[in-house]
Symmetry: C2
Subunit: 338 residues, 2 copies
DNA sequence: ATGAAAGCGCTAACAA
DNA sequence: TTGTTAGCGCTTTCAT
């Protein structure tokens, strides 16, 4: 805790603080000899620049905030890791903001932009509307969104192509011979749900299968929600042979319900989930699942955002649409006898 | 992006910047009328104080850093959540630092203390030595450790009582009638491993069971490590009836090996793990496990650290020793017929 | 109870 | 290539 300042280094090296600053920031306008001498003194004195002074003067915090609904959920953790690694490699820091599923918290974290706690903010939460986010972007705050598309030219977004995702699931199931396929969706208002329903319907059409509203039921992306939704579905209709669950949590709920109802997977019912979480490999039969490139969604967006900060202008590409990939496991494979 | 400054508010309210600052910081030395008028203007102008200026002047960042080995591991995520919630409720922010299992990264993050990026730092990683950490503390930097005890009077620590943890496991197993119990430890140098071995030996003694070195094998806290270690163990000795695994990951490795070797759990072998991760409830039979109070370890330490920052002195309690709790499931319960 | 003024540590115009 | 100087926005003595 010695608290050496730039002026101390400057004096010892017989230069001005400005020159020391130039050396520290890798300016080209410094004589090689001078630079060496200054560096030498910096090392000798173990000088480390004070970040607060630097921030105030340069009007940059070199920090990004990431707002997630819940740090515990592996979905978010993976995205965070992608952001972290990219940001760190570009000399940025990452402030994790856990909104704990509370809208009020999300709004609170937005103020980090206004009060200059961070240079930019990445929202990975669903609850703020496009309009709310757009109005911040309009005011000049750097904002980005992961997980959905926001229709504002100043807001970069990275997300999965959910229409294609759903279609890929249905292709796989129809290939396996299924004609009666149910869709266990998430919250009906979630853009994920809307897009996936769209893809679901498209793929059915392409396969010449009529769409039945009775084969769609909404849950809340949780295991319990999946369990309940599946039971509701089943009470309406008994003859579907496959279920496309909005995520693996809901697929696990289906497993639970099937265990109770003595429905055997995959013989009587094929199941496909989304996210390919670790647990899908530990239940029997293992759950086929669409794996989203979460790490990539985080890292491309962080890169884009930092690039934007540095150029102080919006680069060409704003939307990063990534594709999920089906990982086929036993839950959706018919036995050979079939 | 209007960038209103404290001077703007001051002018409009016909007071000095000092008074506005007093109002903002809840100083008692402001006339009630004046305060009201200033507050009114602050609201009207939607003034939000610039954090950079505030930090520089007050020499506080109101930010804690948490250094973890890997944000993806649920063990760390739970601790982080505890820190986050406590810190936020005390108006602190949390900077997550993912060391990615690299010692060099950990050291890098330590510099956040020196360059005033954060006010204090919580290490949840194992690789920095007590000496290294102590020397920082000695220099006046605020540092805390989660997961192990560091013997320096200025470093608060929260951790699980690993001796008691191991003893509780062995009590449970001997109660079930086991006399030949193996211990699948983690890295042999890890303090967790050392303490648990100590508790393991103590409990055996108390139960009048001789300790056999051949029943101890080391792994690396991973599923694969557990798998390998179990096979090594088994090749040395075949007649143990129970395994205490250093964590649930290693217990999962035991499950994998047992499946291959046709050993039935719990009939031929009882298994107990540590951490009680979610996965323990999805394998069959479910894994009995010691649940550590991770969230609590994070929150008590954050509270302590912030308290220490505010008082600028070390309060009474430095060590927070918490107890794990056994969650008994089928993997360690003998069938009634036994 | 309030204001004036100094300055936290740094960088960036502008001069030289 | 280097130095001088003026702040970045805020808080905090010290007066009053």
């Amino acid at each position: 805790m010695k608290d050496i300042k730039i002026i101390d280094v400057a004096k010892r090296a017989n230069v001005s603080p400005a020159t020391v600053s130039r050396v520290l920031n890798g300016s080209k306008l410094v004589n090689a000899k001078t630079e060496q001498r200054v560096m030498q003194v910096i090392r000798e004195m173990e000088y480390i620049p004070n970040n607060m002074g630097k921030q105030l003067r340069s009007r940059k915090t070199m920090t990004l905030a990431v707002v997630v609904s819940d740090v515990l959920v592996s979905y978010y953790a993976e995205i965070i890791k992608g952001i972290e690694n990219m940001a760190n490699s570009l000399h940025y820091r990452v402030l994790i903001c856990d909104a704990q599923n509370q809208r009020a918290k999300e709004l609170e974290f937005l103020s980090f932009l206004i009060n200059h706690t961070v240079d930019a903010l990445i929202m990975v939460t669903p609850s703020l509307s496009d309009e709310e986010l757009s109005s911040y972007a309009e005011d000049g705050y750097r904002l980005a969104v992961i997980g959905r598309e926001v229709g504002h030219p100043l807001i970069p977004c990275s997300f999965t192509d959910n229409i294609t995702l759903a279609r890929d699931v249905i292709y796989h199931l129809t290939e396996q011979g299924h004609r009666k396929i149910a869709f266990l969706s998430g919250y009906s208002e979630a853009t994920d749900s809307i897009k996936r329903l769209e893809g679901f319907i498209q793929a059915l059409e392409e396969a010449g299968i009529p769409f039945e509203q009775g084969l769609v039921e909404n849950g809340d992306f949780s295991e319990d929600g999946g369990y309940e939704a599946f039971k509701r579905l089943r009470s309406q209709c008994e003859d579907f042979t496959a279920v496309f669950a909005a995520n693996d949590e809901m697929a696990l709920g289906v497993y639970k319900a099937c265990a109770e109802m003595d429905i055997s997977i995959p013989d009587q019912l094929a199941v496909v989930g989304v996210d390919n979480i670790r647990l899908t490999n530990y239940v029997v039969p293992r759950i086929s699942s669409m794996e989203q490139p979460l790490y990539m969604m985080g890292s491309v967006l962080a890169e884009k955002l930092i690039d934007q900060i540095n150029d102080n202008r919006l680069a060409d590409q704003r939307l990063f649409v990534l594709n999920a990939e089906l990982v086929v496991k036993e839950s959706s494979l018919r036995k050979i006898s079939n």
